[in-house]
Structure formats: C-alpha cells, structure tokens
Amino acid sequence: MSLLDRQVLIVTGKGGVGKTAVAAAIGLAAAWSGRRALLVEIASEAHVAGLFGESGGAEPGKEVALHPNLTGLAIEPQQALEEYLTLALRVRALAERLADSRAFGYLTAAAPGLRELVTLGKIWHLTEQRTRDGERRHGLIVVDAPATGHGLALLRTPRAFLEIARAGRVHEESRAIAELVADQARTGIVLVTRAEEMPVSETLDTLERLRPLGLEARVLVVNALYPELVTGADRETLRTLVPAGETGQAAVRAARSHLARRDDQAGELGRLAAATSLPRVELPFLFRAGLDLDGVSELAAVLGPAFEELP
C-alpha cells in the first residue's frame, strides 16, 4: 500500500514552510494517478482554491471542483458543529434551537478544543460517508492543517475529549476520531519543513511531541531547496572575481548569495538526516512570481512518484 492509498493525510509543519502548497501538490498528484482526492482546509485560512485559479475562495462547507478528480472543502467549525448537532439530535428544529440558545453560544465560543474536535469530527465523518452502492464516497482526503502549535492541539483534541467527556455520544465519537488519527493504515501525518534553522528545529521538536500522543509522522517533506545552479567548485573563483560592469558585478553577488543559501540548506539537511531516519521527500525552490497551478504541478511531479513509493 502506498502513502497515497491512505484515507487521510494530515499536512502540518511550522508556519509558512509551504503546508498549503504541499497539501495541494499531494492532492494533485493523487488526482493525476486516477484516485479521487479531496483537499480539506480550515475556512479561516482558506488558500487552496486560489492555487487552482478559483478566485474568491471556497464557500465554507461546500465542496468545489478544483481539477479533474480533485475537489476542495473549507471547514468552518461553527457550521460543522451545527451540522453535527443536527446529526446527533436527529431533529433539526431541536438542533437549531440549541445552536441558537445563548447558553450554547457561550459554551462553544470558548469551550476548550470544541472547534478543533468538530473539525476533526467532520473529517472523520467524511471518511465514513458512503455512496449508494456502499463505496467510500471519498478517496484520499488531504488536510491542510494549522501550523505546528495549533496543529498539535488539533491532533491532541480527541484524546483530551475522551478524558473530559466520559460518556455520551461525544465520548464514543472522540474515541473513533482518536483511532482514525492514530491508525497508520488509514491516516498518515506529513510534516513539512524547510532546510532552515528554525523550521528544522521545530520539526525535530514536533517529532518528539507527537510521540506521547501515540502518533508518528510518515514522511518529512523538505520544501523549497535551492537547485544547484552554481556549484561548490565555482566558489573560489567567485570569491575574488570583480567584473568591470554593473551587471556582471550584480551577477556575481547573486551567485554568491545563491551559494551561501545552498550551504545553509545543506547544513540543515544534514542536521535533519542525523536526527531522524524518517523518509524524506525533497522539493525544489520555485523561482516564480507566485504559486499557481503550474507551480503546484511542478511540486506534484516530484512529490507524486516519491509518495507512491512510500509504504
């Protein structure tokens, strides 16, 4: 079974490292391979639709087509909660009354972790949905999760709720959600990083913080590695070279800066490799004005075959 055959891949990592870009690339690669894929994001941070040229972003709770075989869904916790209540109470009018009540408003506005729980609950529910023929309605669900701190809180929530709610439907479902998240056959955690000091340190830290939760990442994606445009062998030559004209000088400085960046990245890659034996997938830095479908495709072309190979 390849990594792309999981039911859910949860993509997390330090802020700004490229979680959204990687989640989109995984979804696209899965779609290319003929699987059906669903890209899930949290509504308040919704970006994915934009990468596929859909302007305005997805309406929360509504599944939109992004590409052949690929759809997107932005989850809005409050909405998911109301949906959940309707399901749980089986009577819409009752659910609406409860959801509208002031008391309930207070509870949900601040109840610790409730928003996280319904978000994961919604994802769990998606994995349970069946078509009329009894087939799973969704193929691969790729979750563009929040950055590590809040991402970890998200992953911790179902277990926390097992503790707080000792009985009742929430208890049962928290258990099911916690099992889904921890089940390596159904779920994979994808940690994204860049080969920079702080992201690498945070990644190593996250690996440690996952362990006590009974969770483990499947793969590290190292994003935005500089290609070898100038080589180490050019270093000495570049160190002393001073061309006469402005353009030549600018070119030399740019090349030096490129080398410096590559050196840094090589060092951080080494630190990562020394600290963990997790499989690594490396993605190139894209020299583009902004990320769009072409850019995501470029990442997917590298990521797809690599993920296909991973167990």
Binding site: G15, R102, A111, A165, V170, P199, L241, T247, V252, R253
Partner: protein, 375 residues
C-alpha cells in the same frame, strides 16, 4: 517607518504576522536594538525555536526573564519564554476567594484543558503576562512576539472569549438548574431549556456537564476580578503606550494576511505602527535594472567573460543571477502593491540576509536594517 522613535516612545510593542515571516527574529532584534540604545528591554516569546532560545538563554526556565549578556555601554536586554499554564494558574491563585475554591479549580479537568494549549487561552495568557510585567515597571520596553497571525487575532478576542466563558451566566443558570436544584430548577428554566438540556446531556455526557458545573461554580467570586483585569488589559493595548507592528515577507499570501490583520486592528481601534516587509531579496542592480532578462543575461555573460570567467561557469552564474532577479522583481511588485494598499501607513523593507538569523551576532546584522530610517 521610524523604528528609532518607536523604540524611544513605546512601552509595549506587539509583533504580529503570518507563519514563518520572521516575527520572532524581528522581535528579538527590536529588543536588542532598544537595549543598545540604552533602554531596558525584554522580549517575550511563545515557543521560541531552539537555537535562538539558546542564544537568548531561554532554554532552562520558562516564564522567567533572563538577561542576555551584551557588551557594556548600552542598556540591558532580557528575554522570556511565556508559559500560558503558569500564568493562568497564578491568575487563579490571585483571584480565588478561598484556598478551597482555588484547589477545586486547579484540579478540575476542564480547567486543565482550558489552561493548557487550547482554544485561544495561550493568546490570552500572553496578554495577561504582558500586562503583569508592564505593571511591575521593571522594563522600559516590552516586545511581545506572537504565534502566526490568524491566531494572533485571538489576542484581540481572547479576553472577551475567556470572560464570556467564565461569566456565562445563562450557561451557569442552566447548569445549576440542571444539577443542583434538580427538577425544580429545570421547570423554572422553561420547557425550551429543558429540552435543550436533555439533548445536551445526551450528546456530551453527564460527566462533562458535571465538570462544567463544578468549574463554573468554582469560578464564582472570580468573575469580577477576571473581568476587571480583562478590561484593564484591553485598555492598555489600546492606548498610546502600545504599538502593534505587522511583519510579512514580500510574498502574496503573507501580504494578504498582513492586510487582513491591519484591517482588524483598525476595526478594533488598536494602535497600528506599520508593516515590516522582511526577507526582501537585495537588488544588486542600479540603473540597469529596467532591462529585460535576455538583455541582462547577455550583458552579464559578456562582462563575466571580460573578467576572464570560463564560459561554462559564466553560464551558471548567469542562471543564478536571473533566478535571483525573478525574486527581486516579484518582491518589488508585491511591496509596491502593498504600499499602495496601505496608503500613508508606514512600511519598512528589511533585506533577506545571507545566512540564517538565529543568534545574537545574527540579530546584530539585522538590527541596522530595522533601524534604518527613510523608507
């Protein structure tokens, strides 16, 4: 943006922005800059990365200020890693009417979840700690580093959210009615609430509800203290002694986040100091910058050959150069559009330095760019 003046006048700087743009780095460099200008500055950070934490002496003790050794002559620099749970515990200790009430709260399962990493409490506690430290008056300047932006919005809402939760009178009546007074209370609540209560119980279970009851009852007598405190925090954040700075990179998504955040600050009537655009790729070109990529490549190759560079090496150098220029142009276009949207609000560009910034010498390299005037 005139950071020099800002540092001299503000007592609190709150640094916000989306993920990975350099908030922690900028916060530390601002505090360092202030210290070098003679002030006693303290940078407060949540979740500091290891090497910077190490450099700032934050590794051992959370929630305590450490002095960062600096060359003599300036002021002093302190750093502190915030610990939300400790701050919350301290707050409870301070406001609990009796020792018994205090222990009941500290032991409660819901409190346990609320006070550690969940749902905005971290953000709120950061503000709370900031307030505490400001009250103590030990430091001339406090620089608060925040977690990634959308959650930093929780900073604004958190005081309200937390007090709303603990003072949720309607909820309290409901809960008290349900568990304390029994059927009588329920009847008093009316039919609609009774149905709601029963439904809620089926969904979240009796233990949850009884924990909640206990929690809310234990908080009785603390509401006023909490509320007063939250109001004081809010007014400190809103007045002239405070300034919010936004950090972004010159990339599209973080810029959109910065704009969004700026608008939220304006709506919330919080003092906005400007945007720092960090990691701007340096443009090494002067007058030649307006030429096309093809022309630049030709000129570079010719000049490199003239300087005696072998054709294959020159080709590679030109590749790296043009790749760099793509980013230079991207940055320029994005900064220009950001500046247009910000109107007259201050904006400062800080270059993308070669080599990571994760120690005091690194911060010292960054500092002059942050304190540059004019832009």
């Amino acid at each position: 943006m005139n950071v020099e003046r800002l540092i001299a006048e503000a007592e609190i700087i709150v640094v916000c922005g989306s993920g990975g743009v350099g908030k922690t780095t900028a916060s530390a460099a601002l505090a360092l800059g202030a210290a070098r200008r003679g002030r006693t500055a303290c940078v407060l950070t949540i979740d500091p990365a290891r090497r910077l934490a190490n450099a700032l002496g934050l590794e051992e003790l959370p929630d305590e200020a450490h002095e960062v050794p600096l060359p003599a002559g300036g002021g002093r620099l302190f750093a502190m890693a915030l610990d939300a749970k400790r701050t919350f515990d301290r707050l409870v200790e301070e406001h609990a009417p009796t020792a018994e009430a205090r222990d009941r709260i500290l032991r409660n399962r819901i409190y346990g979840q609320l006070s550690s990493a969940m749902g905005g409490s971290q953000e709120y506690m950061a503000m709370e700690r900031l307030f505490e430290l400001h009250e103590q008056g030990i430091y001339d300047l406090l620089v608060l580093d925040t977690p990634p932006s959308r959650h930093a919005l929780d900073f604004i809402d958190a005081p309200n959210r937390i007090t709303r939760f603990v003072e949720g009178r309607a909820l309290r009546t409901l809960v008290e009615g349900g568990l304390r007074v029994g059927g009588l209370g329920l009847r008093a609540l009316g039919q609609a609430s009774l149905v709601g209560w029963k439904a809620l119980e089926r969904v979240i279970g009796v233990t949850f509800l009884s924990d909640l009851t206990e929690f809310l009852l234990a908080f009785e007598g603390m509401y006023d203290g909490f509320k007063e405190r939250a109001t004081a925090v809010r007014s400190l954040l809103g007045d002239r002694r405070t300034v919010f700075l936004l950090v972004t990179t010159p990339e599209r998504e973080p810029i959109e986040e910065a704009i969004f955040f700026w608008q939220r600050l304006v709506e919330a009537e919080l003092p906005f100091g400007g945007v720092i655009v960090n990691k701007v790729h340096a443009d090494f070109l002067g007058d030649e910058r307006h030429r096309s990529p093809a022309a630049l490549r030709r000129a570079a190759l010719a000049q490199l050959a003239e300087a005696g560079l072998e054709a294959s090496v020159a080709g590679r150098v030109a590749d790296a150069f043009l790749a760099h220029q793509v980013l230079v142009e991207r940055d320029r276009a994005n900064v220009r559009s950001l500046a247009r949207r910000l109107g007259s609000e201050p904006l400062l560009e800080v270059p993308y330095l070669d080599g990571d910034v994760h120690d005091v010498p690194g911060l010292e390299r960054l500092e002059p760019h942050l304190f540059a005037t004019g832009a």
